[in-house]
Amino acid sequence: MDKVLEMRAITKQFPRVLANDRVDFDLNYGEIHALVGENGSGKSTLMNILYGLYQSDSGEIFVRGKKVDIHEPRVAIDLRIGMVFQHFMLVEPLTVAENIVLGSELRKGPFLDTKRAIQEVEDLSNRYGLRIDPRARIDDLSVGLQQRVEILKALYRGAEILILDEPTAVLTPQEVEDLFKVLLSLKEQGTSIVFITHKIKEVLAVSDRVSVLRRGRKIGTKATAETNEQDLAEMMVGRVVLLNVEKEPAKPGAEVLRIENLTVKDQFGQEKVRGVDLSVRSGEVLGIAGVEGNGQSELVEAIAGLQKAAGGKIFLGEQEITNWSPLRIREAGFGMVPEDRHRRGLVLDYSVADNLILGLHGKKPFVHYGMWRDDKAVYANAEEIIEQYDIRPPVATQPARSLSGGNQQKIVVGREFTQNPRLLICAQPTRGVDVGAIEFIHQQVIAQRDQGAAVLLVSAELDEIFSLSDRIAVMYNGQIVSVMPAAEVTEHKLGFLMLGGRLEDYEAHEVSGNAKQD
């Protein structure tokens, strides 16, 4: 008996989709089993069934060889199954210790034994090397630390089977590495782990086996050692996927964006962008790499007119556009894929068609005489972009909320790109988007470049920076550390600069390092 968990022929029908269609899944003792698939392929549903949040319509679950009926989370907890959710299940005003013991409190009579709770959390965090202050309030912690609390929560309940639902989606690259170390050490101590993701690199980095779901069906299970990136991408998408964008060398033309000594302050008067100079030319992609929170968002919003520039100048072509209104900047030939599509890019409760005319909603041909809306034109526009950008399902009247992340992003991309802007900003253009859609969006970015747009790309994904950029800039602590031709940059060098290292130091270090090797 080497299987700690077996799920057989799990089927779950939701009102509109068959989320799981006779899915089999098993987990060995002490392994990391990656569960991958595009958004909406049924990964989370399957694990929510295992944790008792959903009930399956049919199928059986065996835990440690025994058939079980998990009808609520309590049962899963008692079976030593723990789950770390993508959207954390933490009560923000409470402390770390309080969150960890919630539901299984240590008590003295009816009273909470806070002292012992803190002690136990400390013991636990020492045992697994997950350092945390048990007295800290959740809302004072970084996302990475909050996730740590989630893992400790499961371990506190004695979890031997740990499910992590897209744990890396919210983490910075550094935090992802820390998480992987934690997972490997948990595995060594005997924990069996299910790791849900749609990022293939992560699968290859930590898992022992991998199962692929596509549209609610299991496509297959393989030993990670016997598969590769290309193979997994094809299993996920169901066709051949180009992981690297094919592109010609850039043919840069005239300067389109020029930024001179730009300073942006946040609401508390803190400088987030500190004297940035930047130039992007027509027909090239300039990628800005950097750990999130180093001023990229503020830089982008200042260019778009969404935040005030405290100092410096921004030029679009010959024209100075500093602190113009967002609409006026757009009309001057600017388009943007914002980093948070829910907050800036879409009105989730509006239809796909209405989302596709945001920003153009007061213009011909969608409006006549400045007041009469022309539904025919709105829908014609929608049909065209839906077709061209392969937005699925292809229904213009559906609210944007009901689409998957990838297709929501295609709405934004389609709307912005079809305007053929002179300057195009793409901020985290493929965040939370699945492999097939990433491929598509990347191709579209390059197509825009080749049509002569100046593209400013901001991304926390190094792969994305590398595969799209012609030049790469690194942003650290509100400043542009350096701008280099993409060909001269290695991942290692970029990582060094992103963490605040100086280019001179890197080169000196490289030289001495090479000397030693000799």
Partner: protein, 309 residues
Amino acid sequence: MGDILALLFNTAVFAAALRMATPLIFAALGGIFSERSGVVNIALEGMMLIGSFTAMFVSHHTGMPWMGVLGAVLAGLIVGLLHAVFCIRYRANQVVVGTAINIFAGGLTVFLLRYYFGAAGTSPSVATVSDITIPIISQIPWIGRIIGRQNPLVYLAILAVVAAHIVIYKTSWGLRLRAVGEHPRAADTVGVNVYRMRYLAVALSGALAGLGGTYLSIAHLSRFSEGMTAGRGFIALAAVIFGKWTPFGALGACLFFGYADALQMRLQDVGVPTQFMNMLPYVLTMVALAGFIGKSVGPKAAGEPYIKG
């Protein structure tokens, strides 16, 4: 000038402040329990009114005022459960349900009053919970004249504040209560029964509001009169917000509002209109909500029905 100072620090005014605050304190504690569990309770007013009526009614029939207190608590609890069923089970809009209960309570008490006592306006006089003197404390100068001789319900209100603080912050039930009102799904995923917590909290809320109503009809006065809560349920709600959803914070707010109430009679002589003092609680609540005295942020999930799965 000296007259006004003497008035402001008059022990009789302080003692009266404590009495005026008592019904507010009970109701505010009720509001805290309900909102902490994630259910908005603007029905405090109606629950108090029904408590007031029931206390009078039971006291009238049994001649035992403490039976009246018990009756009011039970009546409040039942109305609380009614609120809970609509808000939790049927996921109705909590503000609408609360408003409906307030209107219902106003109509029901008037109807019952006329039905049983025929008289319009007020009930006959009934037996009341009478004041007690605390032996040693009453001898202390100044303080003794404020807290040395009071109604037992006044003392009970202060004890209830301490008890509520302990329950909310020191027990596992309180931890679960706070979690359920902030992030019910998080509580659910660690095996806490969200619905049960909310039913208990809202029922308790009703019981406390009923207790607050008791004080008005069989301690402060000895009769029930139509609409006698006169907005105190809403002032209690204001105290909940002003006190940042904590028992001691709400106590402070209630004492302050009670003080303003006690002062208003006397200030009229100096020429300050009653209406000015009456609007004070609401003005202060708006100030608190606008964030002038530190931001007052309530439980995040308050007002949202929880849907499992």
